[in-house]
């Protein structure tokens, strides 16, 4: 009995190392957009893996490991958003104080600042589709599968979030155009 438990534990430990190696940094990048703070993002991923280890026996391996881990992160991230008030990350403030001479870099810095700001004001649902679309580069269909929603809902959330960013970007950076007929 004890041997079986030790073997089980060993498997989980080995699996954990593999999961962290395969998906840890990807989850960390996704977690960043819940809190816009690298330290808190690391805490969210840590919490995600702790839950994963504790509930590994209930994971039936029907879905992909990343989908399962990402599902846990979503719950952890949403809990974080409910508890925590929005804040300006230290990195953004430091980055505002830097003097940049390259015009392209200035544009990217400005856009980054605005995108960060708008993302911080979006709901968890809208942030999630944006991260999966533009950071992970997933297709609408794959986002729908990952989140368990319809493709129509994904498109509608992308449209809303894109519009929110469009309204906030400075006009000379604005790459969006009004749609005609």
């Amino acid at each position: 009995m004890n041997e079986a438990r030790t073997d089980e534990r060993k498997t989980t430990d080995e699996e954990l190392s593999q999961w962290v190696a395969d998906y840890g940094d990807r989850l960390l990048r996704a977690a960043y957009w819940y809190c816009r703070n690298p330290v808190d993002a690391q805490d969210l991923v840590q919490e995600t893996f702790v839950i994963a280890v504790k509930s590994a026996d209930r994971f039936e391996r029907r879905s992909a490991v990343y989908t399962w881990l990402y599902g846990i992160l979503r719950n952890v991230g949403r809990h974080y958003l409910r508890k925590k008030k929005p804040m300006v990350p230290i990195e953004s403030v430091e980055h505002m104080l830097e003097v940049e001479s390259n015009p392209d870099q200035i544009d990217l810095n400005m856009a980054t600042e605005k995108v960060e700001e708008v993302m911080g004001g979006l709901s968890a649902e809208h942030r999630e589709v944006m991260v999966l679309r533009y950071q992970d580069g997933l297709k609408v269909r794959d986002i729908a599968d990952a989140l368990g929603i319809t493709s129509g809902t994904v498109k509608s959330r992308l449209h809303y979030a894109r519009d929110a960013i469009r309204r906030n970007l400075p006009p000379d950076l604005n790459l969006f155009v009004p749609v005609g007929t």
Binding site: F49, V50, F176
Partner: protein, 153 residues
């Protein structure tokens, strides 16, 4: 002939390469004749590029620490502690306990009334009664005296 609305609705599918060949050809044909739809698709492509650049740049340097696995293992080995933060929730849980124990005491009383195992049931009844009293005492400690309603007349 495909309309602007249909093109707008299918812009993500078009960019994802998810449209049937025939529909894709229709969209391309429409865009060839419609500047605003062409601009929409171009804008969406540019948006994707901008957002990809911003989001990946912002998170590019993020890495988990080397001892991350050990930290998770240590945390996972800690016993689970259920934290009840709000006083309202604490009170609700206490009330639920009281209710459950109260029902239990009633059932035991009924059983002892129907005969058989009376002495044993009496022990249980006393145990329930004293536990209830202790819980009620705890609950009344939580509720300020001014908020307690008098019972009976």
């Amino acid at each position: 002939m495909i309309t602007c609305k249909q093109t707008t609705d299918s812009v993500y599918d078009f960019l994802d390469g998810e449209l049937d060949e025939s529909v894709k050809a229709e969209v391309e044909q429409h865009m060839g004749a419609c500047e605003s739809c062409q601009a929409l698709v171009t804008a969406e492509r540019e948006t994707a590029k901008l957002l990809q650049a911003v989001m990946t740049t912002q998170t590019a340097g993020l890495r988990l620490p080397v001892d991350f696995v050990e930290t998770v293992q240590a945390k996972a080995a800690e016993p689970t502690v259920i934290r009840v933060s709000s006083p309202g929730m604490r009170l609700a849980i206490a009330a639920a306990f009281v209710a459950v124990l109260g029902i239990g005491a009633l059932l035991v009383n009924q059983n002892s009334g129907t005969g058989g195992g009376g002495e044993q049931a009496g022990v249980y009844t006393n145990m329930f009664a004293s536990t209830n009293l202790a819980l009620i005492t705890n609950v009344t400690n939580v509720i300020p005296a001014s908020q307690l309603m008098p019972v009976g007349r």
